[in-house]
């Protein structure tokens, strides 16, 4: 801090300062552990070509020590930029993103010393694993921005996965499965809406119970119908990836973003629509007002509970569509509890992304990347056990909600049932 400045920092500024200190210490950690400590470097081979995209560079070989050092220095530079922007009272999102990317690359150079890393494949897999997280996090945004906590994302995903798989199999029509999935998610969301909004039950308890209800129901029917009559009930198949002309030929980006199944393209649309609608449309303004200050919203004639009810249903539909990715997008058939806690990671992404659509997408992508990297490093062998890599998203979320990476605040009225005429149950 400069000597001229004697003004005390406000609470958000203090948090931001703490965030910068956290980043600086992580950067220093990377510099020492990934860059300086290894005695000798080993070559890391990054390969970039996956399919028939245009070739810019087939592969790049980096010395692990040099790469780790170089990326750590960049991450520290990013911290420097963030500090300057903090002093100038500007936001430093780009610098934070640069920090995150270079820190990860520094880690990757260290962890993959002497190994072969299919870089484009790593990114493609990361997006693949992020898809349900992004759908789930969008469901969280829609519902929680209007003031209803959605812990039932997991159940909505699972219901979508189950129904889409079963319907696609029974009708032998994948599109039919895809169409049904949002309704399955919305059905669970309807229960959430009725009990939370009409009866004013604690939304966290409720979401939890609904998750178990769906896990129980789908597990029951899976064993009773899907296993014995697999050929009729559980053989829906998967959508083939669609390559978008020209775009899919761009090196690295093409195979990652534009050679995916229809569900992924629907996800792009959903994210853009939700982001624009939430911040630019009348519906978005109402949604946010109902989530932040329902009494004020009602005083200008907005029906608080109607908006909430509708948003929760839309949220369920979005999560249900994301559920279809498990069956129609990835595996081709349903299996018991196949969502495996992804709904809770989506919740973590929502919180990590501070309840904003794009923030949640970024968080989901990071979690997906960590998950995929973990899988890759387990196969190639790593200096750290894979279980600790798997823990990373959860620990990151705890750090985030504890306020070490800036301000994390839920919509003010999130989770508080509203009774007409102001006040809560």
């Amino acid at each position: 801090m400069s000597t001229v400045e004697v003004r005390a920092l406000s609470a958000p500024e203090r948090r931001r300062k703490r965030g910068i200190i956290t980043m600086a210490s992580l950067g220093a950690f990377a510099l020492v552990i990934f860059g300086l400590l290894p005695k000798t470097g080993e070559p890391v081979t990054y390969s970039f070509v996956l399919g028939n995209e245009w070739v810019l560079a087939k592969e790049i070989i980096v010395n692990s020590k040099t790469g780790g050092l170089f990326c750590a220095v960049i991450s520290l530079l990013a911290v420097g930029i963030a500090t300057l922007q903090f002093r100038a009272r500007k936001t430093s999102r780009a610098a934070s993103a640069l920090f995150g990317a270079s820190f990860l690359m520094s880690f990757l150079c260290w962890a993959a010393a002497g190994k072969f890393i299919p870089f484009t494949g790593l990114l493609q897999g990361a997006l693949f694993l992020s898809v349900p997280l992004i759908f789930g996090a969008m469901a969280g945004v829609l519902s929680e921005r209007s003031g209803v906590i959605n812990i039932a994302i997991e159940g909505q995903l699972l219901a979508g996965a189950f129904m889409s798989g079963v319907i696609a199999s029974l009708t032998q029509n994948k599109i039919a499965g895809l169409v049904v999935a949002p309704f399955a998610g919305a059905a669970i969301a309807w229960l959430l809406a009725v009990f939370a909004i009409k009866y004013g039950i604690d939304q966290v308890v409720l979401g939890f119970v609904l998750n178990v209800l769906v896990i129980g129901l789908t597990g029951f029917l899976y064993k009773k119908l899907l296993i014995p009559y697999q050929s009729t009930w559980n053989s829906g198949g998967t959508f083939a990836p669609i390559e978008i002309p020209i775009l899919s030929k761009i090196p690295v980006i093409g195979p990652t973003l534009f050679a995916q199944s229809i569900i992924v393209y629907l996800m792009y649309v959903a994210v853009i629509v939700i982001h624009v609608a939430l911040f630019k449309s009348k519906w978005g303004l109402r949604t946010r007002s109902v989530g932040e200050h329902p009494t004020a919203a009602e005083s200008v004639g907005i029906d608080v509970n109607k908006i909430r009810f509708r948003n929760v249903l839309i949220a369920g539909a979005v999560a249900g569509l994301g559920g279809a990715f498990f069956t129609l997008g990835a595996v081709g058939s349903f299996s018991k509890e196949m969502t495996a806690g992804k709904g809770f990671i989506a919740l973590a992404a929502l919180i990590f992304g501070r309840w904003s659509p794009l923030g949640a997408v970024a968080a989901a992508l990071i979690f997906g990347f960590a998950d995929n990297l973990q899988g890759l490093l387990t196969i190639t062998g790593t200096p750290i056990p894979s279980e600790f890599m798997l823990m990373a998203p959860y620990i990151a979320t705890i750090i985030a909600v504890s306020g070490f990476v800036g301000r994390v605040r839920a919509p003010a009225a999130d989770g508080v049932a509203y009774k007409r005429g102001g006040g809560s149950h």
Partner: protein, 383 residues
Amino acid sequence: MKLKKLILPALSFAMALFVGGLLVALSDSKVLALKSQPLSMIGKGFSTAAGAYWALFRGSIFDPQLAEGHFFQGFYPLSETLVAASPLILTGLSVALAFRAGLFNIGAQGQFIAGAIGASWIGFTFELPIVIHAVAAIVVAMLFAGLYGGFVGFLKARTGAHEVIVTIMLNYVAGYFLLWLLSTTAFLRPGRQDPLAPDVRESAQLPHLFGPDLRANLGFIIALIAAAAIWWLLSRSTWGFRFRAVGANAAASRTAGISVARVTTSVMFIAGALAGLGGAVQILGSEPAMTSGVGGSFGFDAITVALLGRATPIGTVFAALLFGALRAGGLTMQASTETPLDLVLVIQALVVLFIAAPALIKSLFRLKNVDEGTTVASKGWNG
């Protein structure tokens, strides 16, 4: 205890059994085959559901077949119910205690795992005299889990991090940590590849209550003692008064001079220790070899138990016995009638759903003047 208070839970349970029965009947291929004859379809459906529930009863309370040779043996299923109920009582108490202080402990799962790790570690690593060994294992289990839970309370008190989010995340952390631990030489059973710890030594195992044939063990008595202790803590001690005061109105308690931060941290410590005791009872009582799946679904079961028991110690004991019976009976039901164990989850979820929405049950049965008891108030992330 007024009888009126039992109406709502009883009706909720009946409704859940009814819906569960419908599910059993309507998913049965033999029932579905009779689509053209509605009357015989209803009859077949009824007998299918009744068969499943009869198996559930035989697996949880009394089995006439087992009683033929030796009447006492007929109660083998009841002993299994007690075995299943013991950890449920303890994890349920953990959630119930936190509820009373206005905290929602979703982390019983992780705390249970922390306790199981502690008990298992002491149990198979050290050679100690008979009583001391079990006590040491229990104390270490409670300490591990207490710290794991207390950390959540500490974070909430210091930084305002919501306990629901932190506990959900810590459950996963505990699960992965256990998985890693079971791959290390210290915890992996010699000669095994799959995640399995060595058996706890006999000196640390809890003695059986009714002879070697029945698995019911001292863990059940420990759970009852814990319930009594929590009852005393909540309704007879100054600390318990503070807990309840903070739960009822944190702002007023702060004004009255109660340190909310200290209450939050200590409640979560005790809640964690209770769940950890549950893990210890599971390991020392019935499952001497820890696996990566030791946590089971205890986290969720604990929440349903606490909600059904209205967050009171006595209620929790009875709710845990009920769900313990469903667990134990569910296994028999699955084995003898091909009704998947998942039905138990459905029934459990429905019971809690109905309990949590007294207005729904009241309108379904057109009841008036029924005691709704304390339901958990909706508070939100920032509360």
